[in-house]
Symmetry: D2
Subunit: 492 residues, 4 copies
């Protein structure tokens, strides 16, 4: 096949294009960037290796990057999350056909194996000619979770060592596939990743996990290129977490259970941005929310917002529904689950599935798991009495598992940060290669004025009219008419 | 087949029983009635002909009726609304098997034809031996929409006339099937419906449409048996309409479109109970609601509740989403739809599908209907620009078409009214046949104290503890300690 | 004195006129009636005896009545509630001077004695020449609480009996003053009240108390003229109770205590319209509301609205603030008050001061009452520990005692009902005297279409634009284009 | 006079003590600090010069400082804000009498002249013996607005220069009094302020204005001692601004105007923390809020929270009430005020009175200012038509001018930050004088763990129960069990 991609079924492309068209309408930030930069082509010359859930929204992101001049190769950052019709549509492109695809090489399909996953991850760096001349390879990474970045760093590290180590017993299973992938690569080209790393101008990363890895690399002096932390833009963290969850949490519970939320007692564990969005959504449905918190400041905010703040011990027998939002672990123990009301519903919108002790639940003596429908399971404690609880999405993120994750508008905000960060890094890092160095091999957040720009791009869509400062007013406040308007520590 | 029923596929019964078990937990009103009356068997001797959507919730209703002693035969009141697994589970019963069903005869399956529908309606009156002895037939009707009641009245009318008329050009198509059914019956037994009518002690009816028909019959002196209007119980109308829609409206929009509700401008047409629930739900999601109203009192309520009140003309270009809740017709005209923003979403949670002028929309020159997915259609006004709107559920009730209708808890309240009304009418109407006449052939609402009882049955489930009046306090207020507590005109 | 009135200090009239001018802006219903009927003068010939709190808002009411052609004499219906500057301004009138008053005779001042009070009540019937010719006297009563109506009925009763009885030991103290007033009258003119009663075309009454008395008189066949129950207009009861309290409850607590409402636990006793308004206001301030209820329907509404429903026993140790809204008695007992948290705040917005057992509180052994400021008292249970609670307005209505009662806009709605009822009764009762009898000596509520009219008059002021039904839509709904739009039992 | 203080009327002390007692109950943070540190006396040896509004809440602060061992001298930081009864009570102390005061020297009374004000400011540094030995003087400043800090810096600067300059034409009038005060001092003791400055261990400052001055001094290398910026503690800025305003804004409008907030259109200028609190309060009263914003991020937040975002130009004719919350200037111009609806209400809860162009308003041709009552003025544009607007508190902070400012609970949070910062600086700066230097002459914010401590101290009072991390959970999150729990950039 002359065209370089692998997806499950390219015939899905028409269904994908319908959905992309509707999603474009809900992603005004990305569409505004196409409008603003379409002519200037600021990403002309950029070759972006992208690793991010291959969904309809990501399709709009990819086509925004190409509209700004970039060449792109794409893989998903999760073995389950690809929407095949979106992948197909991106490969074919708006004007192509399955026979003559004119889109972007995509290496992603729903339900990959781990071996396949790491193969796709390596493919986004396999630009034509890169083995002959690394300067023909990717010069930018767009990352979600840090897998693409990690692959380059590990590849270069092992090439420097001249060998790929064997997996150790304490390594997670998945790491074996990483090593296998790199071992194969080392055989093929012992300087491949070294060359790739040298030609990368930087990475933009949008998750807490990925950002944490980047800060560790930078702290240890091992970061091989500059990084922009998109995760901590206000227009990413505050919007994605709070307003995204406010929508997708009730959506997930409703689809999963059809249980009336009005009049229910819901225990929300955590009152960070995710918890704030969750509590607001549930109160808006007439539920009574009890919050648990470990941080006294957030706890006091919850109380001031009118919620009861209690420990899980106190609330465990009152709750009809329990939602974790913390990013911590063992928030709801197996023992707590046994104390809940019959048919209590338990779900997670925090981070990993260890917020709920699913392993402990499965090990309870006599417990029986009954599938009500996919992603909705009844865990029966006692078959005689029928006493049981309902667990959503096996303890993983229920807004993804029982609904469809964050709506497009929220992703538009996150992805506009990605695009702007790509432009910023591609343009400025270019200067590094010309002997100037606005960005070193460190981790940066987007300048506040660009964060404000992302917000600005979404105002029209919600009918918001912005007031403009006069020069005199701006001087009085000590800010520029064009922003940024707030000190760095401002909390919004 | 010795067992008297007809459903599509009885093998679904296990899936249905799972769902019934979970629904029972969310229908505390019905379960409390089983608890309270299980021993006394107040419906012993009742033979109930039921016509109501054959869903999982209705299964819990049916099994409550039988738990109270009734015999039951059932049909759906809508050709689309049957959940086949619920029907199967009811037929088999909790202790039966497909080979040895021990449940209730059900005549209902998803997607009936109109001919089949009216056949099922007649089957709920076809009790064994009824043609020989009408006193062996149904003595109660439980109705939703009035079709069962209408069939009896028309049947008796034509038997009195000795002939069934031909359908007239102005009759709705469906009426032809009614006439056909009765014509066949007249051939079989020229006194069938007359006998059935004479043995019916009454009907309980839960819809506005059905109740309106009953009041017309009563006004014209043609009502053949007493009727209880369950629709206007507070615990039906206020709860079903307001709290049911508050849940099922956002559920439906989210499932249909995945569009972020936060920040959207939503035009809600009507601020009755349905509109109040709709507006509350949307505000709870961070949408900005604009209300349209024809009634100045409701309009003033909307304003006092903080909503902008405008005409559709004023709001048509601002709205991102339009929801009708009125029970009226032509609320959103085709012309209005052409003036909406590109990709505006239009849906109905009012009553009939004529709230939105779907016919007018389809007749617009050049308009094209694209199915995005079932029950979600894009109507493209102009293929060049791609200008279009999205219509949910073809203009019919989107909370049914795009979600799963009212949650079980809400139906528990409505159905507890049905059961209590059945007991009331069956017990008291018995007296009529003994020469006393607490109920004449008129339409009654449930006594307030029974309405209060329905509420009372649901308090435990939401953790509400009721305060009891002392005798002295009750005397001061001029009420009985046990209620009722409010004058008839009290508005809640 | 040639001009017939008695107020404390007419020199206050300028301050009063300022306030009246501002209040007019907030009473669009009354101003719209002046606009609509100013020319037609429908109250021309009406001589209205008014008994209603002589406040700034009442001043706007009085001047609306005169603008529509009526002659008016006024007294307050409460010995404390007169705002002297409002009384002065009404007496002087917009164009008069203290030397040449051109307004309305007002018999009211702040802090009347009971003897003075009943003298003022009799003065509103002392029209010039009435003793010579009763037809020159009042022909309409506008009443609040029923004192004016009661005076006429008792006067006529005693005149028929030929004697005024002595007060009995079980009579309230105040009744002695009524008897004294009538005894004096009997001496002056033994047919005075009989003549007055015969010439009265009717009364309009706006309180629950007054309405209850009227229904009792009608039931006993003793009502001497028709009555319109303004209290049960939707635009009175629902608006006054819910939206009035939503404003004036937090206003009162804030003025009284300056205590932050955010984060507080507030126990609201009762979830009728007053309780609904109270709960909404407190939640809007970030308080956590616990509701107590005796009526299961209202209790279920509270739960569905997201409030915890508990008994006072359960909540008494959790609450920071306790508010009664019930109209019942002994809602908060002295014993409950001793169990509250130190410095808990207790207040009443229900009806009479016996909702809180103030007498029992005062009789607790060792209790000490400390005035923090007028209408705010600390009741110290134990001087050693300083344990105490705060009681607002001595247990009487705190929104009146600690704030200024309902805002003008709310009163505009109530008073527009009064004016419309006066017109209705004056115009239609005139027909009675012409031998027709649209109104008998019964109690009526305003026709729904007039209730709707009151709402209509307030829409402009809140910027609400009403949608008009087409003839076709109205026919479909079975209503008139001009209303009324709802069945009588509709609950809003 | 042997006792060193000056207040208006010491006989008010009993009234003050009542209020202090009630305020203590609402200031749990300060009371908890007394409990925690009363025995350890961490401020033993601290001599604190305090400059902060001499209110009842400040009295609780002062007595907390002394309970922790400090000696204190106090002045107000505003000529109008002293509550004389609070000042009297503090001077007398809980156990003293007017004849034998045992409290704290206070130099403050309501309505000081500017000359008096700067005299009181100098008196808080006039510790007995300080002129002889500066080490006997103040060693700490607790400041609000920076006047005390400025006096020391200017004093030392002029002493170094050997002369106090003459005021320049461009200087504000008030600066003349500062110079006069320092000129007199220079005559008395030419090294007074130099000595004082050398002995000061630091200042804690709680306002934006004061903090800005401190950062300027530090940037210019002129800061003479370390400073802690209490203003930017989360428990100060987020709580004071948002929850304080949520309470005191409706309080102020209600007391000033008695106008129903329900159904009104309120334009809130600015959606920072103050604007967020304002909008929430008004929506909670049933008002419809329109937000104006210059910052696109805040604007998008407002839209996501369901508010209309418009420019003032668009909204000026719709608003019934206009509230500025920005900290900027000329937010509402005189020209805008002329375009408002008749009787629109205009008020400020932002910062300075120049948010509303009061000067421009006064200069409008023909405009007339009518006092309705103190702090409430009608500005009549046209006497013929009566067209006018209402301005609250002359454009200054209406929550202070028309109500009583922030409630005690909010101040407890701000003041607990002050006390903790005093302890931190006094204890640690002591080390500086011992040759260690944890704090340099820079501006610091409180460590996050102390910010969390302030929150922790308030949880009991609102009934919030905090969850404690296990060691394992804390390790997983990479935090300490005892906190701090969040990264510095966390936005709450």
């Amino acid at each position: 096949m002359s065209f370089d991609h692998t997806i499950a079924d390219i015939s899905l492309h028409e269904a994908g294009r319908h959905q992309i068209r509707l999603a474009e309408h809900e992603m005004p930030g990305l569409m505004a960037l196409r409008e603003e930069y379409g002519e200037a082509q600021p990403l002309k010359g950029a070759r972006i290796a992208g690793s991010l859930h291959m969904t309809v929204q990501t399709a709009v992101l990819i086509e925004t990057l190409t509209a700004l001049g970039a060449e792109v190769r794409w893989a998903s950052c999760n073995i389950f999350s690809t929407q095949d019709e979106a992948a197909a549509a991106v490969v074919v492109g708006p004007n192509g056909t399955p026979e003559d695809p004119q889109g972007v090489p995509v290496f992603a399909w729903k339900n990959e194996t781990l071996a396949e996953y790491w193969w796709t991850a390596s493919q986004i760096f396999a630009w034509p000619g890169v083995d002959q001349d690394p300067a023909q390879g990717a010069n930018m990474i767009l990352d979600d979770g840090g897998d693409a970045t990690m692959l380059v760093h590990k590849g270069a590290e092992f090439e420097a060592a001249g060998a790929v180590p064997q997996p150790q017993p304490e390594d997670p299973e998945e790491y074996g596939y990483v090593l296998e992938t790199l071992r194969k690569s080392l055989g093929e080209n012992p300087q491949r990743w070294t060359g790739i790393a040298e030609n990368l101008r930087g990475v933009t990363e949008e998750t807490t996990t990925g950002v944490t890895r980047l800060y560790q690399l930078a702290r240890d002096g091992q970061l091989l290129f500059p990084a922009i932390n998109v995760n901590d833009s206000v227009t990413k963290s505050k919007f994605d977490n709070k307003y995204g969850i406010r929508h997708s949490l009730p959506d997930g519970i409703m689809r999963a259970t059809d249980v009336l939320l009005g009049g229910k007692v819901v225990v929300v564990c955590g009152y960070g941005d995710v918890g704030k969005g969750a509590a607001e959504a549930l109160r808006g449905q007439g539920a009574r929310v009890i919050v648990t918190e470990i941080d006294p400041i957030n706890a006091l905010q919850a109380a001031m917002d009118g919620y009861q703040v209690a420990t899980l011990d106190e609330a465990v027998e009152q709750g009809d529904i329990f939602i974790t939002t913390t990013g911590g672990k063992d928030i709801i123990s197996a023992s707590a689950m046994t104390q809940m009301k019959n048919k209590a519903i338990v779900g997670n919108v925090g981070h990993f599935d260890n917020e709920i002790d699913m392993a402990g639940l499965a090990q309870l003596p006599g417990v029986k798991k009954v599938e009500i429908k996919p992603q909705v399971h009844e865990w029966v404690f006692d078959e005689t009495t029928g006493r049981s609880i309902i667990v959503l999405s096996e303890g993983r993120l229920l807004n993804l598992g029982n609904a469809t994750g964050h709506p497009s508008f929220v992703m538009s905000s996150s992805f506009a940060n990605q695009v702007i960060a790509q432009i910023e890094l591609f343009e400025k890092s270019a200067l590094v290669h010309q002997g100037e160095d606005p960005y070193e091999n460190e981790v940066y957040v987007l300048p506040k004025v660009l964060d404000e720009k992302v917000a600005r791009l979404h105002l029209d869509a919600v009918g918001a009219k912005l007031t403009e400062l006069t020069k005199e007013q701006a001087d009085y406040l000590g800010v520029d008419v064009a922003g940024p308007y707030k000190p760095e520590h401002y909390r919004y």
